[in-house]
């Protein structure tokens, strides 16, 4: 397989749309910004060897989750799925036989993310997997990327509470939020989207939050801790 060049220019209409649509200025008050919450299911956690097998995107506008406008898709992996990943998400190699390959399957997701601030739970996973997939389309993942796991820690610290759970389901439950179907991209993305609303709304009780201030959650955490 030819190694994709990071300098490749976007060619597909989806990629061009993503590259050509600016996202919110970082100073935008958080409620005014447009977000896309993304969750991926993977064959494993090693970005060099493992693959994206399903994804979901849930938009947030005006501080509301648009739960009727979600996106869900499957990707056909290039290798059989390891058994341990099947045990987690329940998706088998055979279930993906009809699915398009990643480069094709990911285009609707790229379209859905165009012009929106990315929100994920535990950012390094999506950063690395999406980063690679985007690079193959000649795209660079736009910054900022907001991380609900970090925002959860920040809220707990701001409230002078013990550290918040890091796992998505436990963090959601700790805030009395519903936990949707776990290890299913759509269920986890909805849980994450609701978590984001709750965290941002509660953080705003202390200071007016903007896209930038939420994006800087980890810096704020270190300054608190320091």
């Amino acid at each position: 397989m030819r190694r994709p060049s990071l300098l490749r220019t976007p060619t597909s209409p989806a990629a061009k749309l993503y590259a050509g649509t600016p996202v919110e200025a970082v100073k935008t008050p958080w409620r005014k910004a447009h977000y896309c919450v993304v969750d991926l299911e993977l064959s494993g956690l090693d970005p060099r060897n493992d693959e994206i097998i399903s994804f979901a995107a849930v938009p947030i506008d005006a501080g509301r989750v648009l739960a009727g406008s979600t996106l869900y898709g499957l990707c056909r992996p290039t290798r059989p799925l390891p058994e341990r990943s099947i045990l987690i998400h329940g998706i088998r190699t055979v279930d993906l036989a009809e699915a398009p390959p990643l480069d094709e399957a990911i285009r609707p997701l790229i379209t859905a993310m165009a012009g929106r601030v990315l929100v994920v739970h535990v950012a390094w996973v999506e950063r690395s997997f999406l980063g690679r997939a985007f690079a193959r389309q000649g795209l660079r993942l736009r910054e900022p990327v907001l991380d609900t796991c970090e925002l959860g820690q920040l809220l707990a610290l701001t409230r002078q509470q013990p550290p918040a759970p890091r796992a998505l389901d436990e963090l959601a439950r700790s805030l009395n939020l519903p936990v949707h179907q776990q290890h299913h991209a759509l269920g986890d993305a909805l849980t994450t989207a609701q978590l984001f609303l709750a965290l941002a709304t509660n953080l705003e009780e202390y200071i007016p939050e903007t896209v930038q201030s939420l994006a800087r959650a980890s810096q704020r955490l270190s300054s608190y801790r320091g």
């Binding site: 509301r64 739960a67 009727g68 869900y72 949707h180 759509l186 269920g187 909805l190 709304t201």
Partner: protein, 617 residues
């Protein structure tokens, strides 16, 4: 784009979503937004423009606040905002997150389409209150029910068959057969006559008339006609009231468009009310009358089952109660001999307003025509005895004797007309007299059902009530003294004093506050005896009530009437004596929710009226 299965599954656990078919649910899933409200955040304010969203609580809870007081706490699965959304009226309360709360939000356009179709709150409410609506669907009943709501024009099935008066009976019968018509219009130039199949049977065959006689010898002329725009339910009641089954329908200019028959408007089962009325008219002894009256309760059950609205059932019930009263008087008069004075029997209360129900007492009074202070012992004795006999007969017919003895068998309610009107006049002038407000309320709701009906009526004395502001002010305060429960908490209805009860008296708690307010409001508009809805309309037309308040009260009246009827029909089916006491546990959460919203709406109208009174003393 995809709806999220988890959200649909959640909704499906709660009414009214539980009854939606998967396609309708999917439509809701396509438009749902998820919102997060911090504890204390106001989701919408009281008196705001109609809300454009229906909301359902996913996690957390929402306080319902009216004028700064928390009336209720809504929890997971409960919806709010629907009353304002569906009625298009301003919000009756403030919705405030009691804790951090996640809600699902649906735009009004989709939600009302799915929950109600194009109709208003009343329609949804009825469907949900009925709880059995899925048993009632079925094309024929739906169609029948629609005719009751639509202009009678829509129930006309074919062009009328019209003939000149010189047509022979034989030719007329042939015309009717050829056209498949059960009635014929006779063109009399400036007016019309009508000949029905049953006229041919009863008048021609029974009387042995020749087929060569002109049709004019057996027609009914002038025929009573209805205009095309009147609603089917009204026309049906007119038919029932007049004991006829055919009405020519005319355009505004008087042209005959067709004929409607009773069965064009109602289902077969509903016709029992006509048979009933016929049996009452034909009863020649008290026993026969009691036997005929025993059909009244089954009739109510079948009308209810046939999908007739509570207000229409109440009208039918009142018409039949009138017929029973008249026949009871006929039989008593026949037995006792002629009365020493001409007199009028007055129906009072709900019967007078044509809002009687199976649980209603038939309140009544007698007014005889005579000189001032015409109170000879023999006269009084006759009427006291007659009233007692009639009351006794009606009790045997299944009507409860009045608990409060507002009844013609009570000497207080048997008087000469001049004594009644003198007293009514004195109430106008000095409403602070003992019992004045109670008696004014009783006398305004009075309607002659037997005897001389064209004489001046007692209720008419109060047509000039507008010129007596002190009376109106006191009546308003009197009406406002009846307060609905302020809310429900954990299965208890909470009254103004904060007392909780597991039973709710629908009549005292919900109906009386509305009918009392409507009576007063009607009087400010110069209306005397009339239905609650007519009074509210008049009060809205003259500006005593805002049109939205009048509408709120009317909807509340319809809703509580429906709930009362549902409850009483269930009791009748179970063989119980009907009453107005409802166990809150009998109601579904949604019924409770609707009832709560209704109470809140009535309380806020009461509050506004009270406010107006304080500003315009």
């Amino acid at each position: 784009m995809a709806a999220i299965p988890d959200i649909l599954e959640f909704l499906q656990r709660y009414p009214p979503f539980a009854d939606l078919d998967p396609a309708a649910l999917e439509l809701l899933g396509d438009v749902v937004d998820v919102e997060y409200h911090r504890a204390g955040q106001i989701i919408f304010s009281q008196g705001e423009d109609p809300v454009e969203f229906l909301r359902v609580i996913r996690t957390g809870s929402v306080e319902v606040v009216s004028d700064g007081q928390v009336l209720d706490l809504l929890e997971m699965g409960e919806m709010f905002g629907h009353a304002s959304m569906l009625s298009g009226l301003p919000t009756g309360f403030e919705a405030r997150a009691a804790e951090d709360t996640l809600t699902y939000r649906f735009p009004a356009a989709t939600a009302s389409q799915i929950l109600a179709g194009p109709g208003a709150l009343r329609y949804v409410t009825r469907l949900i209150l009925e709880d059995r609506h899925h048993l009632r669907s079925g094309p024929s009943r739906e169609a029948t029910r629609d005719y009751l709501r639509q202009p009678v024009r829509d129930a006309i099935r074919s062009a009328p068959t019209i003939c000149p008066p010189s047509t022979t009976i034989r030719e007329a019968a042939q015309l009717m057969t050829a056209n498949g018509a059960s009635a014929l219009i006779v063109d009399l130039g400036s007016s019309i006559g009508i000949v029905t199949n049953s006229d041919l049977r009863s008048r021609v065959v029974a009387e042995g008339l020749s087929g060569d006689e002109p049709v004019s010898s057996v027609m009914t002329a002038p025929a009573f006609t209805v205009t095309a725009e009147r609603p089917g339910s009204e026309v049906l009641l007119d038919m029932l009231d007049r004991g006829v089954k055919h009405f020519p329908v005319t355009s505004a200019s008087g042209r005959v468009l067709g004929i409607v028959e009773d069965h064009d408007l109602i289902a077969i089962e509903t016709k029992s009310s006509f048979h009933l009325r016929h049996a009452i008219g034909g009863a020649s002894t008290v026993d026969e009358l009691v036997a005929a009256a025993s059909k009244l309760r089954p009739t109510v059950i079948s009308l209810h089952r046939g999908g007739m609205t509570a207000l229409d059932v109440m009208s039918v019930f009142s018409v039949v109660a009138d017929a029973l009263t008249r026949r009871a008087l006929d039989l008593v008069a026949a037995k006792m001999g002629d009365a020493p004075r001409r007199f009028t029997w007055l129906a009072l209360g709900s019967q007078a307003r044509r809002e009687a129900m199976p649980s209603s007492d038939l309140d009544s009074a007698i007014a005889w025509f005579g000189r001032e202070n015409d109170d000879e012992p023999s006269v009084r004795t006759y009427f006291d005895e007659a009233a007692t006999a009639v009351t006794h007969t009606l009790t045997r017919c299944g009507f409860r004797p009045d608990e409060h003895r507002v009844n013609a068998s009570d000497p207080l309610f048997v008087r000469s007309l001049s004594s009644w009107t003198r007293e009514a006049q004195s109430f106008l002038e000095d409403p602070t007299q003992k019992k004045a407000l109670v008696l004014v309320s009783v006398l305004v709701d009075s309607r002659p059902v037997w005897g001389i009906e064209s004489e001046p009526l007692i209720a008419e004395t109060f047509r000039v009530a507008r010129s007596y502001p002190q009376l109106l002010r006191l009546l308003a305060r009197f009406a406002l003294s009846h307060k609905p429960p302020v809310g429900f908490i954990r299965g208890l209805a909470i009254d103004v004093a904060g007392e909780g009860r597991s039973r709710l008296d629908l009549k005292r708690g919900a109906v009386v506050p509305i009918t009392d307010l409507a009576r007063w409001a009607g009087m400010t508009a110069g209306v005397t005896c009339a239905s609650t809805t007519a009074r509210l309309q008049a009060a809205s037309d003259c500006g005593t009530l805002t049109s939205s308040d009048a509408l709120t009260l009317r909807d509340a009246f319809e809703l509580t009437s429906q709930l009362r009827l549902d409850h009483q029909v269930a009791q009748l089916i179970a063989g119980l004596e009907p009453n107005d006491e409802i166990e809150l546990a009998e109601l579904s959460p949604l019924q409770r929710n609707y009832l709560k919203e209704t109470f809140r709406a009535v309380i806020s109208v009461q509050r506004r009226v009270l406010n107006d009174l304080s500003w315009n003393p």
